[in-house]
Amino acid sequence: MDLNPIFFTAFASLAIAFALLVVLKKNPVASAFSLVLVFFCFAAMYAMLDAHLLAALQVLVYAGAIMVLFIFVIMLLAADVPSFDLGRSHVGLRIGSGAVSLVLLGLFVWAFRHTESFGAKGTLTAAKIESVGGNTQAISQLMFSDYLLPFELTSVLLLAGIVGAVAIAKRQNPRKEGSGS
């Protein structure tokens, strides 16, 4: 894979480090900011892998929209929470989790190492993509032909999400609504 090893190593290390911080930092704000950095690293990776559109979207959607939403909620709630810096769970669980994840990682890496053959090569080589006008062009063209269905469904999904979010977060009317327990 014609990925620059130096850049890869650098961004990978950074990403792993920040990802660890996301998990390990007690303060969710710190976690959130670490996460943003992870997102940036990923964007860089995408760019290096010739997925330029995705690199841009990564920054815009993830680092921009989603993270802002997170930070916003954190800020919204943090004001009310006495101790927002919730630590981690019981030691046993932590050790167990670490072990589980490590073992899983080992298994996956083993699988990757032992995978000699990948799926059949497609037709969209770099040259082909270049011929239709680059990565962004190719993706947008595909979106309206081959991927029409998922694209349309995404809109359904977003609509459902909106309705859901509204239903959840709608201002409550205590007079009208009963409380269970």
């Binding site: 995978t115 032909s145 998922p150 469904l153 609509l159 009963g178 269970g180």
Partner: protein
Amino acid sequence: METANHLIRPEFLSLGADQIHALMPYFVAFAGCLVTLLLSVIRSVNPKWPVLLGTVATCVAASVLSIEQIREPSLSLFNGMMVSDSFSAFFNTVFLATAGMTALASFRYLDRERLQHTEYYVLLLFSALGMMLMTSALDLIVVFIALEIMSLAVYVLVGFRRADRRSNEAAMKYFILGSAASAVFLYGSALLYGATGSLNLREILAVLQSHPEGMSPIFTLGSWLVLLGFLFKVASVPFHMWMPDVYEGAPVPVTGFMTTGLKAAAFATLVRLFLALGFGKAVASTLQQHVHDILWVVAVLTMLVGNVVALTQTNLKRMLAYSSIAHTGYLLVGLLAGGGSDQGFSAVVMYLTVYAIMNLGAFVVLSVLAEQGDTGLNLHDLSGLARRRPWIAFALAVFLFSMAGIPPTAGFAAKYLVFYSAIQAGEIWLVVLGVLCSAISVYYYLRVMVYMYMKEPVGSAAPSRVSFWAASVVAAMVVLTLQVGILPARLVHAAKKAVTSL
């Protein structure tokens, strides 16, 4: 086309008449979503009646369209990303019927619980639409999106009792674990993509079949993770932990909807995936062997854990949640057997349908019995129910007997088919363990009967009135349970027809 300097293939930009016909149920369902959504924002009138009407009408119309399509040949749509075949048509009917029935049965319940928000119905329709799409999807990414449509709607429905901590907690747990499971599923899809070069189920199967010597390790990982995502959704042990809490916390009709529609959708998709990943025929490769082994253990654990924990439950809702896990176990038996028996996966289809019927009925009964805030569902609250409300007690008894698999109820016919096909597939021990587990299950079902019929009533709480709609749903389900139990042939036939298209 090669000459053109773009990748757009015009044949995907327009739909033929047959395709439109095949898509009609989806269109109707989506239109229903939109209409009800619009109706619910009209503030001038109380929208609850029109929305209910719209929801039910949508479900009826779409399911009528779906029923018709059971007989029609398969039709590949949207670049092969989804298919309209008997299987999907059959399940579309189930989903829509379930959603419609749930809507009907919820109406009075929502009133009573002061939850009468029209979003409820909209979300119900959205999730039904998601289910429909999910079972007809042939592309993993479409499966994922449909799954999310369904799940997002259901997450919200679970937490619909916003003022209730338990409801919120259930939604939260479901959301977190569900998202994690979705991520696992996606990871599996990614690995499958890497291993085969495609996300399309048909193509994956084709690749698989062209490599009789076996696939790469990432295929193994990918296929398992994909299955696992759905094993989570159907709540098989050890991926079941979320389910009792969620079922208990969700409003009763939603729980009913989840145990029926959602479970059926997840299982139907699981069947599709199972087939696409090459597990649909008798064991040949080592991978199949190993997945078979794992599923075998998972099935046994699921039946066992579901039943033995249900034994210890005193809350009816939670007990039915655990029993739902146990039923997942029986379904897994059917899934395991599907490849090796003449019945194929029709046993699973049949079981899902029957399970949907009886469980929907049971949860509607529960929603009628429940007091404000879904309390009053402990076993001792049912004491002497047969004296106080004989018909309700009778209905619940029928459903519980059916779940226990006692003839002449539908549950027996379904269980018969499942275990029978498992015997055909040579899974004798699985069947033996299965029947033993179902013997355990009889105990807790009967215990409910004990409270309803054999104990004296406690207190004299005036029974809340049963709404006409809920009563009709319950009656319909009782009739169906008995009818399918006594004359199962038509359903068996339909189920067989449905799976032939796979």
